[in-house]
């Protein structure tokens, strides 16, 4: 591809500037522009035209970004194709036609570029001053390695060494076998460190087991150690006891011997001496007391003998005292006797009066007997027999009065009992009549039970209604869920009956559908894109045709054919020639002109024709591609339809209109949901049926309890048939319940009434026999009374019976009389008793007085004498008291004396007993014995103390054995043994401490094994280090591979191109050095590498590394130009764009370079940008007009 024209339409500072870069003999363009003239802008414009504008372009300062445009004409050397186009900014459709109207397919320009991208274009086909310098320096730095030099020059890579170094340094930064800081090495080191840490953190099973085992062993050893310690402690205690016993044993033995010596001394009690002293004191006191009492006894006996009272008088003490006491009573009873006689007299007169009244009304017998009674002086009421008789009759009368009083009560009882019997009978009769009215009363209990078991009917109805609502809701939900089953027209049961394909199958099929859809989409998209492209192409073609109608090949061929026919007719038909030769010539001329016109037209518009042909070829290719795509699309559609058909069949077989995969997923979920809802609905309906059945059962029970007729039941049952949702059911149920409740109340009321009547009747029936018994009893009692009345009356009088009421009045009088008689009898008895007492007193007093009456006594009144006797008696009694006191005192003193004697004996005996106790014969021996006993006790106490201490020390062993053992060794030996045992204990204690620490350590270690994740965390960290290290290793290998394949490529390139490139480069190098160097040749350097050498015209060879900078630059330029020329001879032609790279060369060398570039431009296009006027001057002066074309920028 070459650049025929560059249009800077709106780019940088340029507006509608065009550079004609079309070819001549030499295609060398020198574009000059001073600084700021836009040279760099033009350079960028070429790359922008070919490869698009970079987003960060600096060329938008004058024009708006949307207005930036660069255009040009590209020409393909091989095919002769041209492309006139415009490039604008943006990411899509930036390449436009020359009118900047329609986008051009990027592939169109791609054919011109032949796969060269921006970077390759700039590196391989571009050359700048900096690259030249860098290349020269690289040659020198590289030591003249021919391969590198050739490769770098061939690729236009000044920094090839840099690439290699970059690979190497990158690789070394990542890994090196002996490095430590490289990434991978550092990671390895970290991993190593982590592994070490891991070892510390990891708790292997063996460690865990070992720790557990160690702990168990330590604990067992500790147990053993404890036992040893206890044994040692026991031994040490024993040793210490022995050692202590050594001190005690001599004393213990001495005490024991002393005790043996005092063995015969009695063991006197502690209070022995006290007791002895006490007894001796008591003895002395008793002796003194006894003699004193003895003297008192003698004195008392003398006083007794002097006292002598009158015994006779004292012997009659009671009689005298009694007679003296009765004196006052005697005087009182004398007065009472007089009063009683007076009352007797008054009473008699009163009895007499009543007797007179009684006898008036009394039966004749009484009157007679009363009148015949003799009157007494003291007794006015009759004789005692008569009185007795009256009292006997009176008792009868009293009885009779009782009978008379009983009669009234009995008569009342008979009446009452008779009345009661009659009432009972009458009430029973009435109750029977009333009960007859309750013959149809019903027992409410069964109905009540039914109603109780049913409870409140509203609750049942509410529950039923609620359940109906729940059912309705469930149904609605089911219907809703059913409606969610899109594409399914069946009912609920059908929906539930559908067994969907397995999820796996659905997944596979949806996956297949997705894949086929994706393929279809891709195909359709591709086809649409190509269709659009074709459409654009057709439009372009149409535009091309419309703009200028160009003769087609057919038209040209037809014109030629017409021309040839005329020529042919002119040669073959003489007749015609003669007749119309002139016409034929004219026609021939016209035909020839037509052909020429057509050809001229085509020649003039060759570019347009080429474009049209190109467009037509593209159209044809697109059409064939479209056809191919259409087939593929059809295939994809067919495959998709097949998959979809299979998918649809899968569902339509189940009666479902198939949707998308997600639709069917939802379908599946919906069906699952529907199943759950249907199950729920069925459950709720079962519950509703249950509620309904419960109500029906309750209705039946109510009817049965209400005893509703069967035909009625049938009717009502029929009425319940319409359905579960018929509200009549609960209406009937409610009304039936209401009716039953009312009926129950009625029944209960009547039942209670009837029961009350029955109870009343039963009460009367129960009461009647008792009333009859009472009546009979009353009648019997009355009869009995009658007999008693009669009998009593007969007992009183033969004329009885008489009237009970009159008898009662008479009996009142008689009763008073009887009372008076009784009083009279009592009073008579009092008078008799008083008289007898008087007589008796006088008789006894006379007798007593007679015993003590002296002959000289003048007083005869016994009562006075009694008084005197009584006074004498009192004097004798006082004397007697004195005598008694003396006797008493004598007895007491005698007793005291006897006690004193007894105490004397006791004390004496006690002292004797003490002697026996002490084993002494005389009391005087006792003090000495007491002293000896005390000393013995002291030894005993000492012995016992020592013995006790020794027993305590001996602990569990026998005392004698212990004493023997303790005595067997000296104290120093015991000390030694104690010391040894204490050392043993210290050793055990140290062992214990050690073991304690060990157990603590093990337990501590075990406690750390608590399931923590430290090791795991480190493992994860190591895994991340490993992950990073792996990435680094990959990067390391990438760099190593890059380095090595680059080396190989360099070597490969040298082998393939060394000779031709060096030949061309040698030519350019000679020219560029103005003949200073005449040859370039390879040679092996000291390292065995193939190095480049230059042969100076003097015949000297010069290694590259020995060259000056300028020469090295020239060498690099020569090699670059040679490589370009060599590659273009065998491959693609592209413009070589050079940016002012000759600025360091002197005029000769610059001229030589211009010539070289002009020479190169014979094979390809060379565009040199410069801002050095002298180069322009050199070019115009040193090169021919056809060898270079100079363009001025900013002019």
């Amino acid at each position: 591809m070459l650049l025929a024209r560059l249009d800077l339409r709106a780019f940088g500072k340029f507006t509608d500037v065009s550079l004609d870069l079309s070819a001549r003999d030499r295609n060398f363009h020198l574009i000059y522009g001073p600084n700021e003239a836009g040279k760099s802008t033009s350079l960028r414009a070429i790359a922008s035209l070919l490869f698009g504008m970079e987003s960060n372009t600096d060329d938008c300062f004058q024009h708006r970004p949307t207005d930036i445009r660069v255009g040009g004409v590209l020409f393909d050397v091989n095919s002769g194709n041209r492309l006139e186009c415009v490039r604008r900014r943006g990411r899509k459709q930036t390449l436009r036609d020359s009118e900047d109207r329609d986008p051009i397919d990027p592939a169109t320009i791609g054919k011109f570029l032949d796969g060269v991208n921006r970077e390759t274009f700039q590196t391989r086909f571009g050359l700048s001053y900096e690259a030249l310098v860098e290349g020269g320096q690289a040659i020198v730095r590289g030591g003249g390695d021919l391969g590198e030099i050739l490769f770098a020059a061939g690729a236009g890579v000044g920094q090839l060494r840099k690439i290699q170094d970059s690979f190497e340094s990158n690789a070394n930064a990542l890994f090196s076998p002996r490095a430590t800081k490289a990434e991978v090495n550092a990671a390895l080191k970290q991993l190593e460190d982590d592994r070490k840490r891991m070892k510390e953190l990891l708790v292997p099973n063996t460690t865990y087991e070992r720790l557990k085992r160690e702990l168990a062993e330590h604990q067992a050893a500790e147990e053993n150690r404890k036992e040893r310690k206890h044994a040692s402690m026991r031994k040490l205690d024993h040793l210490k006891a022995c050692r202590k016993a050594v001190d005690l044993i001599p004393s213990w033995k001495q005490a024991k011997e002393q005790l043996a010596e005092y063995d015969s001394v009695p063991d006197l009690s502690d209070d022995f001496m006290v007791r002895r002293h006490g007894l001796q004191t008591e003895l002395q006191i008793a002796k003194a007391q006894e003699s004193k009492l003895k003297e008192q006894l003698i004195t008392l006996q003398q006083r007794l003998e002097r006292t002598n009272p009158d015994d006779m008088l004292l012997q009659h003490d009671l009689e005298i005292t009694r007679a003296f006491q009765i004196l006052a009573v005697h005087e009182k009873s004398e007065k009472q006797l007089i009063n009683s006689r007076r009352e007797m007299k008054a009473l008699n007169s009163k009895v007499e009066k009543i007797l007179k009244d009684v006898t008036v009304n009394a039966p004749n017998e009484w009157v007679r007997s009363a009148n015949t009674e003799d009157a007494d002086e003291d007794w006015a009421g009759g004789s005692p027999d008569e009185c007795e008789r009256i009292r006997v009759n009176a008792s009868l009368l009293l009885h009779m009065r009782d009978l008379a009083q009983q009669h009234k009560t009995l008569a009342k009882r008979v009446r009452d009992s008779n009345d009661l019997t009659d009432v009972c009978r009458r009430k029973i009769s009435e109750y029977d009549k009333e009960l007859a009215g309750f013959s149809n009363a019903l027992d409410p209990s069964s109905l009540s039970l039914v109603l109780e078991s049913i409870g409140k009917p509203e609750l049942h109805v509410d529950a039923l209604n609620r359940q109906r609502e729940v059912c309705e809701k469930s149904k609605r939900l089911c219907r809703g869920a059913l409606s969610e089953l899109t594409g399914f027209s069946g009912d609920l049961d059908a929906a539930l009956a559908i067994a969907l394909p397995s999820q796996d199958r659905i997944n596979k099929m949806t996956q297949a559908i997705g894949n086929s859809e994706e393929r279809l989409r891709v195909r359709m998209s591709a086809q649409e894109q190509k269709s659009e492209q074709l459409q654009q192409l057709l439009q372009e073609l149409e535009t091309l045709v419309e703009n200028k109608s160009l003769p087609s090949d057919r038209e040209v061929a037809q014109a030629r054919s017409e021309r040839d026919e005329i020529v042919s007719s002119m040669t073959t038909s003489p007749l015609t020639r003669t007749i119309g030769e002139a016409d034929l010539v004219n026609k021939l001329g016209q035909a020839i002109k037509k052909v020429d016109d057509l050809l001229d037209q085509r020649f003039v518009n060759a570019e347009q024709i080429l474009t049209r042909n190109s467009l037509e070829r593209r159209r044809n290719r697109l059409q064939s591609e479209l056809e191919e795509d259409r087939k593929k699309l059809n295939e994809a559609q067919a495959a998709h339809q097949k998959v979809m058909a299979e998918w649809e069949t899968l569902w339509t077989d189940l009666g479902i209109v198939a949707g998308s995969g997600s639709d069917m997923e939802r379908w599946r979920d919906s069906q699952q949901k529907l199943r759950l809802l249907a199950d729920e609905m069925a459950t709720e309906e079962r519950r509703l049926h249950q509620f309904y059945a419960d109500i029906k059962r309750d209705i039946d029970r109510l009817r049965e309890a209400l005893d509703i007729a069967d035909d009625e039941v049938v009717d009502q049952r029929e009425s319940l048939q319409p359905g579960l949702f018929d509200p009549r059911v609960e209406d009937q149920f409610i009304s039936l319940c209401d009716h039953a409740s009312e009926e129950k109340s009625n029944r209960e009321f009547r039942w209670r009434e009837m029961q009350l009547l029955r109870q009343k009747r039963l009460d009367q029936v129960n009461q009647l026999p008792e009333a009859e018994v009472q009546h009979q009893s009353a009648m019997q009692d009355l009869q009995k009374w009658g007999e008693d009345w009669k009998r009593t009356g007969v007992a009183i009088s033969a004329n009885t019976p008489f009237d009970a009421a009159a008898t009662l009045v008479w009996l009142e009088d008689l009763s008073e009389l009887n009372q008076l008689l009784s009083r009279r009898d009592e009073l008579a008895q009092v008078i008799r008793d008083l008289q007898e007492d008087q007589d008796s007193f006088l008789h006894s007093t006379s007798k007593l007085v007679g015993i003590f009456q002296n002959e000289n006594e003048t007083e005869a009144n016994p009562l006075v004498l009694v008084q005197k006797l009584y006074q004498r008696l009192q004097s004798e009694k006082e004397l007697q008291q004195v005598l008694k006191r003396c006797e008493e005192e004598l007895r007491e003193t005698s007793a005291k004396h006897a006690d004193a004697e007894t105490q004397l004996v006791v004390a004496t005996n006690s002292l004797k007993q003490l002697c026996i106790e002490a084993g002494a014969e005389q009391i005087s021996e006792l003090p000495e014995l007491e002293n000896q006993s005390r000393v013995k006790k002291e030894w005993l106490a000492k012995f016992e103390t020592l013995n006790e201490q020794l027993i305590q020390l001996s602990i569990e062993s026998d005392l004698d054995t212990f004493v023997y053992e303790a005595s067997s060794q000296s104290m120093s030996i015991w000390d030694t043994e104690i010391e040894q045992e204490e050392l043993q204990q210290q050793k055990i204690a140290m062992e214990h401490e050690e073991a304690f620490r060990a157990i603590g350590a093990v337990e501590n270690e075990l406690s750390k094994i608590d399931g923590d994740a430290k090791a795991f965390d480190l493992r994860q960290q190591m895994e991340m280090v490993t992950g990073k290290m792996r990435d680094d290793v990959e990067l390391y290998l990438v760099n190593r591979i890059g380095y090595k394949i680059l080396q190989r490529a360099i070597e490969h390139y040298r082998n393939e191109n060394q000779s031709p490139v060096l030949t061309i480069a040698q030519h350019y190098f000679c020219e560029l050095t103005c003949g200073e160097y005449v040859e370039l040749r390879p040679d092996y350097d000291s390292a065995g590498k193939v190095a480049l050498q230059a042969l100076h015209r003097t015949g000297d060879t010069k290694l590259v590394k020995e060259m000056s900078t300028g020469t090295a630059d020239s060498l690099y330029l020569a090699l670059r130009l040679a490589s370009l020329q060599h590659q273009m001879e065998h491959g693609t032609t592209m413009p070589v764009v050079i940016d002012d790279c000759l600025i360091q060369l002197d005029d000769d060398r610059s001229m030589a370079a211009l010539r070289a570039l002009s020479e190169l431009s014979a094979k390809t296009q060379v565009i040199l940008f410069t801002h050095h006027q002298h180069l322009v001057d050199l070019a115009t002066s040193g090169l021919g007009a056809d060898d270079v074309k100079v363009h001025q920028l900013g002019a």
Partner: protein
């Protein structure tokens, strides 16, 4: 009687999340102890759901991880479960058969007094009378179990919900060693009500039509990028007709996801970051509060191949910046893999002329594995002496000697060279 059972497997307690390369700002705290938290989530779920039984179908531990603390952590969690009155039945799989940390673990006993771990010497049957469930299972005695263990399982116990607990690869799965081989048909013939399987980390039901479910619950926490997507256990609801309803319950705390980009969809290499951002936003919602560990992969033929490879680091950093900025400390970008290729280059002069042709020729020579390995044999030898063996020994993605990986390295190296050679002078 309705019952609930949790079926889990392949806990791989304290197994680390693999190939996570730490970077600045990465939410490292979120990945800590993921497998432990997942196990705790399992126990929490069991208690929250008041399940009647928990079964773990092997590979509770990693065989090569000897830390007793791992076992003790399990003991804590198992004790928590048992204290809540929930029995636990576990079998050993190939990974924990050889793991000796289980030997001395003070494992709790179930509420009925039975042992948690099933025997390896015979098929154990745990009968839970109160809940009407019989569990039949056998632990692996050795790491390698080639026998068909299912054959020795007893027939179903009448009146019970029979659950078979087995660590097996069934007929074989790619990437999993074939242990205790058997077929779903053989399992179905036992007439059990449910087969709880372990070993395969990808969950799935392999039941024979009309027979009981034969289910892999998968592992409870993904450990590397090949274990993508939600991980957890199955909650099985059993009704009184011994019918089962399975519900997957995620337990993972870190979720691995791979984001593949078709290079054809890219018009500029930087769009990778934009596309990742869009994908990440969706995934963040989908994954709720879990940490998302993502790998971005670009595949396909594209002219952007070189640009993508040359800018891989910057794109990866771009994705990580997006994750840091918008991932709310919830996204970890594990890696960016460029698996693109150049479109057909036969028309390009770049590879047919001059140094580029030589480069192409050299690359072509190295396109077979042997050539490339020869090229870097020294480097490989040096690395082998220093690096962990699994980087080179194991087959599959983890080995650097894998053909695809080597070719990928070659492609990256080539892109680097081309990049260097194409830079403007």
């Amino acid at each position: 009687m309705n019952r609930k059972i949790i079926h889990a497997a392949d806990v791989h307690l304290d197994s680390p999340l693999q190939k996570l390369s730490h970077y600045e700002g990465a939410p490292a705290g979120q990945i800590r102890r993921a497998s432990r938290i997942a196990l705790s989530n399992l126990v929490d779920l069991a208690i929250e759901q008041s399940v009647d039984l928990v079964v773990i179908a092997g590979d509770l531990f990693d065989g090569d991880w000897p830390d007793q603390n791992t076992g003790l952590f399990f003991v804590k969690e198992a004790s928590r479960l048992v204290a809540a009155g929930i029995p636990l039945v576990v079998i050993r799989g190939n990974h924990d058969a050889a793991n000796i940390i289980t030997r001395t673990l003070p494992l709790p006993r179930n509420p009925d007094g039975s042992e948690v771990m099933l025997s390896a010497s015979k098929v154990d049957s745990r009968i839970f009378e109160s809940i009407g469930i019989a569990v039949h299972g056998k632990s692996f005695l050795n790491r390698v179990e080639k026998e068909n263990l299912a054959l020795s399982y007893p027939p179903a116990l009448g009146g019970f919900f029979n659950l078979g607990l087995l660590h097996t690869s069934l007929g074989g799965f790619e990437g999993h060693d074939p242990y205790a081989p058997c077929t779903p048909r053989e399992l179905a013939d036992k007439n059990y009500d449910y087969w709880a399987l372990g070993h395969i980390h990808q969950r799935g039901n392999h039941e024979v039509d009309g027979a009981a479910p034969v289910v892999y619950s998968g592992n409870i926490q993904g450990r590397h990028i090949r274990e993508c997507g939600p991980k957890g256990c199955y909650l099985i609801e059993v009704n009184d007709r011994q019918e089962t309803k399975m519900t997957f319950k995620p337990l993972d705390v870190v979720r691995w996801e791979k984001f593949s980009i078709d290079a054809e969809d890219l018009s500029h290499h930087e769009e990778v970051v934009d596309k990742f951002q869009g994908w990440m936003s969706d995934k963040l919602i989908e994954n709720e509060s879990r940490l998302l560990v993502s790998r971005v992969e670009v595949r396909g033929a594209t002219t952007l191949n070189s640009a993508l490879r040359q800018n891989r680091e910057s794109l990866l950093n771009g994705c990580r910046s997006v994750a840091l900025g918008q991932g709310a400390d919830q996204v970890w970008v594990e890696n960016l893999k460029i698996r693109t290729v150049d479109p057909a280059r036969e028309n390009s002069i770049q590879d047919q002329e001059g140094p580029f042709a030589s480069l192409s020729a050299v690359i072509h020579e190295l396109s077979d594995q042997g050539g490339l390995l020869d090229l870097i044999s020294d480097e490989i030898d040096q690395l082998k002496k220093k690096m962990p063996h699994d980087l080179f020994d194991n087959a599959g993605e983890s080995s650097l000697l894998d053909q695809a990986i080597l070719q990928d390295l070659l492609a990256s190296a080539t892109a680097e060279i081309r990049s260097g050679m194409s830079k403007a002078e």
